[in-house]
Symmetry: C2
Subunit: 211 residues, 2 copies
DNA sequence: GGGCAGAGTCAACGTTCGCTCACCTCGTCA
DNA sequence: TGACGAGGTGAGCGAACGTTGACTCTGCCC
C-alpha cells in the first residue's frame, strides 16, 4: 500500500486510536490488530513505538489523565465563597469533565482487575486532585468555624465518590428511571444537602438560597 | 481419569467456580478452559450445561445477585426511627454486603462494556432495592415534615451511589492514604452529615448524638 | 435384557491473539 | 556518495481462544 504522506506524529495518532478503542471495548476486548487497522499501519509498526500492549495501555491512561489540569482548574477557586460554593465547584468540574471527555469516563469504569496499575493511575490522576482540594478547603473552614467538626478526609472522599458515581452511572439512571436527569438538577439538589450538613448553623450559607 | 463420585449438582459447582474466576479475572480474562479445569471437568462438559460463555456469565451474575434478599432485609426497618437511622441502615447493609461477598463487589466493578447486560443486571438487582427503599422512606418523611423539600429520587440515588463508591474503592483508599479506614468510621462521619442536610430543623435528629 | 437419555471425555476445528523476523524505504549527515 | 537509523511492510510464529462432533459410560424405565 502506498504511504501517500507519512504523518509526522504517528505515535500520537496511534495513542488516539488506542484510547478510543480501549475505552470502547476494554483492555482484553481491544486487539492490537484493531488499533493498527484504525491507525492505518500494521501491527509491527505499533511495536516500533511501544514495548507491548500493556505499556501502550498504560500510556493511554497516563496521556488521557494528564490531558486535564484538574488541580490547576480548581486552584482558581481556592479560599473563595462558602462551603456550598466549594462543593458546587468540585461537582461542576467533575460532571463537566465527564461530559467533555466520555472516553475518560469509560476508561474509569472499564479498568479491569488485571490492569490494576491502570486503575491506580486513573485514581491518582483524576480523583486525588479533587479530594486534596476539598480536604484543604474543608480543613480551613473548619478552623474558621464555618464547618462543623468532621473528618475532612473521609468527608471529601465520600463527596467526590458520590459525584463520580453519579457521572459514571448516568447512563444507568436513564435506563431504569426512564427520564434523563440533568447534571445541574442533581447538583442543585445534592450540594445544598451536603453543605447544610457540613455547616455549623444548620442554615446552608450566607449565599443566595433562591433556587 | 476416574470419576470417583459423580456430584449431584455439577451445574451448581460450575457456576460457583465460574463466579469466583469471573470476579477475579473479568469476563475476557477468564477462559472456559480455566473454569473447566477448576470444576474438574472438561470444557465440553460445560457446554452440556450452558449455551456458551456469555450465557454462563449472565447466569453467574444473576445467581450472585439473587443470593441476597436486599429488599427483604430492608423491609424490617420500614418506617422505624429517624431519617438518620434509615440512612444508617442502608449504609450498614451495603458495606456489610460488600464485606460478606467480595466476589459481588469485584463483579460490580468489573462488568465490562461488552457485557452491558451483566452491568444492568447487577444495577437492577443490587442497587435498585436500596434506592427504592430509600425513596419510599424519604418521601414518607417529607410528607410528615421531618425532611426538607428535596427530590427523593435524586437524593436516594446519590446517597446509595456514595456508599457504593465507598465500598467499591475501599482498596484504593488504603493504597493512597496508607491508613485503613474502618467502614463504621466512615458511616459515623457521613451519615450524620447527610441526615443533618436532609432534616428540617438543622439539628440531626432527636436520637443520640454522642459519638 | 434392551433401548434410551443424561453426563462426560477426547480430539480437534477454525479463528484470533500478542508478538517477531527479515526486509525495504526514506531523509540526514559526515 | 554512501553509511545509517528511524519508521514502515508482509509473512508468519506459537499459543490460546470458544466451540463442536463422535464417542463412551451409567443409571433408569419398559
Amino acid at each position: 500500500m502506498a504511504p501517500e504522506t507519512r504523518p509526522a506524529n504517528r505515535r500520537g495518532e496511534i495513542l488516539d486510536h488506542a484510547s478510543r478503542l480501549f475505552s470502547a471495548h476494554g483492555y482484553d476486548g481491544t486487539a492490537i490488530r484493531l488499533i493498527a487497522r484504525a491507525s492505518g499501519v500494521t501491527e509491527a509498526a505499533i511495536y516500533r513505538h511501544f514495548d507491548g500492549k500493556a505499556q501502550l495501555y498504560d500510556e493511554v491512561i497516563r496521556a488521557k489523565a494528564r490531558e486535564h489540569d484538574i488541580a490547576g482548574d480548581l486552584a482558581a477557586s481556592r479560599g473563595h465563597g462558602s462551603v456550598e460554593d466549594i462543593l458546587r465547584v468540585v461537582a461542576n468540574h467533575v460532571l463537566s469533565l465527564a461530559r467533555r471527555d466520555p472516553e475518560l469516563v469509560r476508561l474509569m469504569s472499564n479498568s479491569s482487575l488485571e490492569n490494576d496499575q491502570g486503575r491506580a493511575t486513573i485514581f491518582r490522576e483524576v480523583r486525588i486532585p479533587y479530594i486534596e482540594f476539598l480536604v484543604e478547603e474543608i480543613t480551613r473552614r473548619m478552623a474558621a468555624g464555618e464547618v462543623r467538626r468532621i473528618d475532612p478526609v473521609i468527608t471529601s472522599r465520600c463527596f467526590v465518590g458520590m459525584v463520580m458515581d453519579c457521572a459514571l452511572n448516568a447512563g444507568m439512571w436513564s435506563r431504569f428511571a426512564g427520564v434523563e436527569v440533568d447534571a445541574q438538577t442533581v447538583i442543585c439538589n445534592n450540594v445544598p444537602i451536603f453543605a447544610r450538613g457540613l455547616t455549623n448553623d444548620g442554615v446552608a450559607s450566607p449565599s443566595n438560597d433562591g433556587v
